[in-house]
């Protein structure tokens, strides 16, 4: 397929971003058919930057992040496209080479810190293990490092808590420990897949603060996956909106919140709770149900739910819209057949006033 890239992102190797994902496809053959969980995804991310990925359940966020880490089983998944991390291509790489990058160059924080930690090993043992795979150090040094990391993420008396088991930690502390583990080898890329969903609001804010501080300290690139637009708004530099395994809009936080161009993004913004409005009055979730990933709707995958879709026979139902820059040299890209003028008109006159 012919994806349109930003002019600067021509295939010259020198111009590669720190993380560059190109035409990524991750498909799962199942008894019901081929599940196209990720189907032609493009995005880039630079060091020290945070990319927020939003999209409803099943849009392929987790599958994408596990794909970057090479965590899909080669046997029951098919992966194609390119993932460039710091100049190395990962999709076609030897699985063992990718394995060596995991934990060291790229690390992940999972949604549920309790189930994501081994119940039979102490927190310390699990961090020590993560550190020692990639660093030839003695157990003592590794243990000191583990205590250090626990202290850094704000666990009180880390020299004692290091010998605790996961079930002895509170939810928030577990997630801190998870972060300590993920950061133990100074990864350049950190993927956080809904890191705060399982936590209550105050703890959530603390964890996000922590991630922000740590990012400044380590200058790592972060991919922040969440349902919560508030979280992305606060933490991200850029946002990517996913729908049906594809990116349908991406841009800076500013662009996506103040001049979003895709009807699905409008829907998402409409579903975002805001304190200054009455709840019943303003919460408008995107109507309809997520698309089947086995039989994606033809044309624009969003067309069965899109209030602005042109009728049958129009490009909306026949031609898949490509992700194109909204203006020359702009990083704001959108995949919709509406003309820029139409989009601006609808946004300014129908959507924004009702948000």
């Amino acid at each position: 397929m012919s994806t349109v890239y930003e002019p600067s992102a021509a295939p010259a190797a020198t111009a590669r971003a720190f993380l560059e994902v190109r035409d990524l496809r991750i498909h799962f053959p199942t008894d019901d058919g081929l599940v196209r969980s990720v189907d032609g995804l493009d995005f880039t991310l630079e060091r020290g930057q945070t990319l927020g990925i939003v999209g409803e359940s099943g849009s392929g966020k987790s599958v994408t992040s596990l794909g970057i880490l090479g965590l899909h089983h080669r046997k029951n998944s098919r992966m194609s496209g390119e993932i460039w991390l710091d100049g190395r291509e990962l999709v076609g790489a030897d699985p063992d080479d990718v394995r060596r990058l995991r934990g060291r160059a790229m690390a992940m924080i999972f949604q549920d810190p309790l189930s994501s930690m081994h119940p039979f090993y102490t927190i310390g043992a699990q961090i020590i293990e993560a550190y020692r795979i990639h660093n030839a150090v003695s157990k003592r040094v590794a243990r000191k490092h583990a205590i250090d990391m626990l202290g850094r993420v704000g666990i009180p008396t880390p020299d004692k808590r290091v010998d605790d088991y996961p079930h002895q930690f509170s939810g928030g502390m577990r997630q801190r420990a998870m972060i300590a583990m993920a950061l133990s080898c100074d990864p350049e890329l950190l993927i956080a897949d809904e890191p705060t969903t399982a936590l209550d609001v105050t703890v959530q804010a603390q964890i996000l603060d922590l991630l922000r501080d740590l990012q400044q300290e380590f200058n790592s690139a972060i991919i922040m996956i969440t349902h919560d637009l508030g979280v992305v708004a606060e933490l991200s530099d850029r946002i990517m909106v996913m729908y049906g395994g594809r990116s349908i809009e991406q841009g800076t936080v500013e662009e996506l919140f103040h001049s979003p161009q895709h009807p699905y993004t409008w829907g998402l913004l409409g579903s975002m709770p805001r304190l200054d409005r009455d709840r019943t009055d303003r919460l408008m979730p995107v109507k309809g149900s997520p698309p089947s990933l086995i039989n994606l709707p033809s044309g624009c995958a969003f067309h069965p739910r899109c209030p602005h879709a042109q009728g049958p026979g129009s490009p909306c139902t026949t031609v898949r819209p490509e992700l194109v820059a909204t203006a020359a040299h702009s990083g704001h890209r959108v995949a919709c057949h509406l003309s820029p003028e139409q989009r601006l008109d609808i946004w300014e006159n129908q959507i924004r006033p009702n948000l």
């Binding site: 063992d96 189930s115 994501s116 039979f120 090993y121 795979i133 002895q168």
Partner: protein, 328 residues
């Protein structure tokens, strides 16, 4: 504490059943005593037996005598002579007049040999097949292993036992003199050789269960989030499987293994019967069939001790492997 209560309850129930059941079936103590006398029960002999065994005493008194014997020993009038049975006394067989405890101790090594050997085989075979099956889920190996395992759990021991006897003993004549138990201390090689068939037959049954259990445990564990985390750390696959997955999958298996072994130590009835092994299992069957109360009591109590002990060890072991249990 629970263990003691358990023993008391089990012994009382056994005692009660033994004496109540014949009564409910309309048998008098005379008839019961008559069955112990032998060929020609004269009224005199019956009265003698009743007197000697105290069969006419109330149940509680009989039970009390039994318990007292366990703690302080007991004197038995055996015809003209009086024998003293020292403290833990489980009494004398109604049938053979043999003291119960020495008989048990005599039979126990057979069952112990059978159970320990078989359990090692089934543990190693069952768990490794289960793991391999899980890792190669859906392959020919997995399908064949699981089909065999299904056969293993559904075929009774006396069937597999008799088939294996027919094949290896009578057709191939690997054991030209038949399979007979021989003592370990006399000739360990012969001991093992003679136990191979019972071991394998018994192990087959259990290995099948263990393979299925290990496989499903392993598959479940491999789907756990913490396995994904272990991979995300960059651990090599053999560490992910061999350390993280195995540790979690084997925990429940350890528990079941302990209980199975404890249960088996009380007597592997079917296997012992099939291979004519003089263990606790065949002793218990004979004792029950011949209405030999003291012997039945002895076997049942010993089996209970094994089970109670095994579950105690399992509890301790479980706390060692699973920190969530240890710390409450």
């Amino acid at each position: 504490m629970g263990a003691v209560v358990m023993l008391v309850i089990v012994s009382m129930v056994t005692f009660g059943i033994f004496f109540q059941l014949p009564k409910l079936a309309g048998q008098t103590t005379d008839q019961l005593a008559a069955s112990y006398v032998g060929k020609a029960p004269t009224a005199e002999a019956i009265a003698d037996v009743k007197e000697r065994l105290g069969l006419d005493d109330p149940l509680a008194v009989q039970y009390g005598r039994f318990v007292k014997g366990v703690f302080t020993g007991q004197d038995f009038s055996n015809g003209p002579s009086v024998e003293h049975c020292a403290a833990p006394c489980l009494g004398y067989s109604f049938r053979t007049n043999e003291p119960v405890l020495p008989t048990l101790l005599d039979r126990a090594p057979v069952t112990l040999s059978l159970a320990v050997g078989a359990s090692l085989i089934w543990l190693v075979a069952g768990v490794s097949i289960g793991i391999l099956s899980a890792l190669r889920r859906g392959t020919v190996f997995d399908r064949m292993a699981m089909a065999t395992a299904l056969a293993g759990v559904s075929l009774p021991v006396y069937f597999t036992g008799l088939v294996s006897m027919a094949v290896f003993v009578y057709t191939f004549r690997l054991w030209p003199n038949g399979v007979a138990y021989s003592d370990f201390t006399e000739n360990p090689g012969l001991w093992a050789w003679n136990l191979v068939l019972p071991w394998v037959t018994l192990a087959f049954l259990y290995a099948a269960t263990y393979a299925r259990l290990t496989r499903s445990q392993m598959l479940e564990t491999l789907g756990e989030d913490y396995i994904r985390t272990a991979r995300a750390k960059g651990l090599p696959e053999r560490t992910v499987i061999g350390k993280h997955a195995l540790r979690a999958s084997l925990t429940p298996i350890v528990t079941i293994f302990g209980l199975d072994l404890g249960l088996l130590l009380g007597g592997a009835v079917l296997t012992e019967q099939t291979f004519s092994l003089p263990g606790l299992g065949s002793l218990s069957i004979h004792s029950i069939l011949s209405g030999d109360l003291p012997m039945v009591m002895g076997v049942v109590l010993l089996a209970t001790v094994f089970i109670v002990f095994a579950s105690l060890i399992v509890d301790i072991l479980y706390a060692v492997v699973d920190p969530r249990v240890r710390l409450g």
